[in-house]
Symmetry: D2
Subunit: 118 residues, 4 copies
């Protein structure tokens, strides 16, 4: 079992022990993921770029960021598990596509968006 599969299994047991499966529908889990992403953003919204880059050095702020990253990861793993999607594989597949779309010569140093692959 990979670390993510192990986490997914622990989450399944946690949810089952509390009979929360009816709440963990894909739509609800997607909403929860977006909610936690919002909370993560809120930890950064008033920080200057410099403060944001060093936020983990501040014990209180760093702990809050770590907690929110944990919450986002939790719901992402639960949602992917509910849908039967391998998150790491899906990310690699997008990277394969991005490597073809974003030729380093053409896109070096720019955030310009590339047209979709044919």
């Amino acid at each position: 079992m990979t670390p993510i599969e192990d986490l997914a299994a622990r989450l399944r047991e946690f949810v089952a022990a509390r009979e929360w499966e009816p709440f963990h529908t894909p739509k609800n889990l997607a909403m929860a993921l977006a909610g936690e992403t919002g909370e993560l953003l809120a930890e950064f919204q008033w920080l200057t770029p410099e403060e944001a880059a060093t936020v983990m050095a501040d014990p209180a702020a760093g702990a809050r960021v770590r907690a929110e990253l944990g919450d986002v990861m939790t719901y992402l793993v639960r949602l992917a598990d509910a849908l039967g999607v391998d998150l790491v594989e899906a990310a690699h597949a997008k990277l394969d596509e991005s490597e073809r779309r974003y030729d380093p010569e053409t896109y070096r140093g720019t955030a310009r968006k590339a047209p979709p692959l044919p």
Copy 2:
């Protein structure tokens, strides 16, 4: 290397080859994560609960969901890597806390929120 560390390394090389590091600040990565989460939500927003539960069975819709999950995972791993946070560890730490906050007897079958731990 765990699968996530391997993905993080591949992402670092992808970004470096295109000299995109200046764009990948923690604030920008948090915004990108929220943007992709929004795109993931959009795949579910008009589906009924039943359609959402079987979305992966539809080739076109399932492929779009898988792609958006890949994008969300990509930015979550990049952001955590930029901040030096272990995502799986952070999720387990939140679960440890949730197990203490959400006693199964009291919270069985309810979505009621528990008070924070002292």
Copy 3:
């Protein structure tokens, strides 16, 4: 002054009195808007469709939803004001476009997405 212009003016004074202008950059305001939208979603995420439809009838839940809608409106008005965009006008412009894209005959009763206008 329309009600929105009046609200925007009150927000400008509130921010100026606390010397918060440096925090209210467009990027930060967009992040704050997304953060509050996440908090709004969180009020609905575990509700069944029926509970969601009647949430305003519950005094506590209804008050929280009203508060979050207030927060989302606040940041949307602030961001639009900072960028010099008329929100109502922008919404009407999108509706004009949607009326051309979504011919009622073709799109009656379906959530199918229409191709962009040429």
Copy 4:
């Protein structure tokens, strides 16, 4: 009718003409709002603070930002209309509360969060 009430009425007719009411449940509208907020964020995510502050001066980028603001406003007005909430009133109510929580003397020039009101 205020401009918002007029927009809400136009939206109701647009939706009714296409028989889209079944899709416009509060949960779905909240998800759509979050989705559009994500698209708005995406317009800003790679911009430097300076580029973000002048984005409306760029014809293409400015048009995209205006369109996304229109989409966010659209769903916010629809959701509030579906729930019977007056957005401007709700925003003023939160401002009344924020004026009491954030005494200008204490919170001048700082983004520190104030404790909730008793």
